[in-house]
């Protein structure tokens, strides 16, 4: 097994296990409370409106939007960690078929690993600092790294020559 394959498989397994543990932790300790907060806030907004309390309605709606912002990103990060990890593991087994030099394959593998780990992390960090430009930039850069690495991989497969 080449170094690039090993990097992808070990990195992918670690990332998948981490993503699952994170998801389990979130499902057990956070998700139910967050969903309750989302549903409760939205209901509260309508109830306050029915009671002709527009300021309370606005505050409840704001609370709903905040909770949903966090929920969407938490679930997205969990699913992207595992999804990207699975792609890395599968590619790890196939990487010998990517027709580049081993050093270039290692660069691709490292890009995939770094991008796949950092992209969901930057998304989760946005739940602590809503709208932070640096985190958005990190998400764009890391996802761009994954896209470039995948494009290089597809190109490597296309360069496949018969034995």
């Amino acid at each position: 097994m080449t170094g690039s394959s090993r990097l992808l498989i070990i990195g992918g397994l670690a990332l998948a296990a981490f993503g699952m543990l994170y998801g389990l932790h979130y499902a057990v300790f956070v998700e139910h409370q967050t969903l309750d907060q989302m549903g409760g806030s939205l209901a509260q907004a309508f109830q306050s409106a029915a009671g002709r309390h527009p300021e309370q309605a606005h505050a409840a709606l704001y609370s709903y939007a905040e909770a949903k912002y966090d929920y969407v990103r938490q679930v997205d990060a969990h699913s992207h960690w595992i999804g990207l990890a699975m792609i890395m593991i599968v590619l790890g087994v196939l990487f010998g078929r990517v027709n580049f030099s081993e050093s270039f394959r290692q660069a691709i593998a490292l890009s995939l690993l770094v991008g796949s780990a950092v992209f969901p992390l930057s998304v989760i960090l946005q739940t602590y600092h809503h709208g932070a430009t640096i985190l958005k930039a990190l998400a764009v850069a890391s996802s761009g790294l994954v896209i470039l690495a995948m494009a290089a991989t597809a190109w490597g497969f296309a360069r496949l020559r018969p034995n």
Binding site: A17, A43, A45, A49, A50, H58, G83, M86
Partner: protein, 366 residues
């Protein structure tokens, strides 16, 4: 070019009830079952559920206009139930297919997992069991609720789902441990996969890589162009809905319910297109490995591969086009889903047919 691996090679890598066979068979079955469930959900439940959400919001607006706080509370109780109904079915669909992918992936890495044959078989059986129980538990959450639960917020169905998820994690950790042992010994636990260079494998590999790349590009486009815009729009629509209903302007409030539904639809089709095209790309790559074990003639293997790849492209593209072309595109997407299911079942049959010929001295399929 041989489309079917040599029997001796297959015999040594794909023995009856081996961990690899359990994982390949169980994995494809989980994916096919998850796809079938998804198709049933899309045709019979999804649109009706969206209609139920819209009706509940209109009723909530009417209650707001009438100043009836109790009615609002009741309506949101029923809306929560409608959303839970939808959410748990989507999650069951996603987790069943995800577990199937993981099973196929584990089948792929079995030569690098240095554990005893018995342990590997047990782990494979536990993984398929966990992968089956996890979506079943999620599906039951809506129906079981908190009945007889010892906990305040988590019911028995959630406990089943969480336990099955924990089982999957334990199996993955054990497999990782086996892989660690390979890294120390550098000796394969079983013969490597056949080095097949057939048309089917190459088509699935390159097609899969392209599908994943397309999905990545679509996701980046959606996140950059619409993610934050849609979040702002949702809050603005809800704000307008509440304000106009409070002012007894029910026509405008009802129009905002329609806007809310359209926005939810736009988000749903983009997310579904993004996730499905990447998942199908990954599945194509995974299925490229099991081709030597599909005991069908070369002609039929090629046909099913073509049907599969066509379905992989049709489903997400027409899901994406649902906003422009409505139910027509939705129907074509469902046909794409059906093509995938049929091709998967055909491959499953090919693997099943192979099982009965393990002891054959030579040959390929009829």
């Amino acid at each position: 070019m041989s489309a079917v691996a040599k029997p001796s090679s297959i015999h040594s890598t794909f023995a009856p009830m081996s961990a690899r066979r359990l994982l390949v068979f169980g994995g494809i079955a989980l994916v096919a079952a998850g796809m079938f469930f998804g198709d049933i959900f899309a045709v019979f439940i999804l649109h009706q559920n969206a209609g139920g959400q819209g009706a509940a919001l209109i009723a909530a607006n009417q209650a707001v206009a009438a100043g009836d706080e109790t009615a609002v509370s009741k309506i949101f109780g029923s809306l929560g139930s409608i959303l839970e109904d939808r959410g748990t079915k989507v999650d069951a669909h996603v987790h069943m297919i995800g577990a199937g992918y993981l099973a196929l992936m584990l089948a792929l890495v079995q030569p690098f997992v240095v554990l005893s044959i018995k342990t590997k078989k047990t782990l494979a059986a536990l993984f398929i069991t966990g992968g089956t129980l996890l979506p079943v538990g999620i599906f039951l959450i809506h129906y079981v609720g908190l009945a007889r639960s010892p906990f305040a917020a988590i019911g028995w169905a959630s406990i089943l789902a969480d336990s099955a998820g924990a089982l999957l994690i334990i199996v993955l950790i054990a497999e990782a441990w086996g892989f660690r042992r390979y890294l120390r010994t550098r000796e394969l636990a079983e013969p490597a996969l056949p080095d097949d260079n057939s048309w089917e494998r190459r088509a699935l590999l390159s097609g899969g890589a392209l599908l994943i790349l397309l999905g990545f590009l679509h996701g980046a486009w959606y996140a950059g162009e619409y993610l934050y815009q849609h979040e702002r729009m949702e809050t603005a629509i809800l704000q307008s809905m509440i304000s106009t209903a409070s002012a007894n302007d029910l026509n405008t409030a009802t129009a905002q319910v329609a806007n809310f539904g359209n926005l939810a639809g736009a988000r749903a089709v983009n997310i579904a297109a993004h996730s499905h095209i990447i998942e199908f790309g990954l599945l194509a790559m995974l299925l490229s490995f099991v081709q030597p074990y599909v005991f069908l003639s070369t002609r039929w293997k090629r046909r099913w591969t073509q049907v599969l790849l066509a379905g992989f492209l049709i489903l997400p593209v027409f899901v994406f086009l649902e906003l422009q072309f409505g139910l027509l595109a939705g129907g074509i997407a469902d046909i794409g889903g059906l093509m995938i299911i049929v091709a998967l079942v055909a491959m499953l049959v090919g693997i099943f047919r192979y099982t009965g010929r393990l002891d054959a001295p030579a040959g390929g399929a009829a």
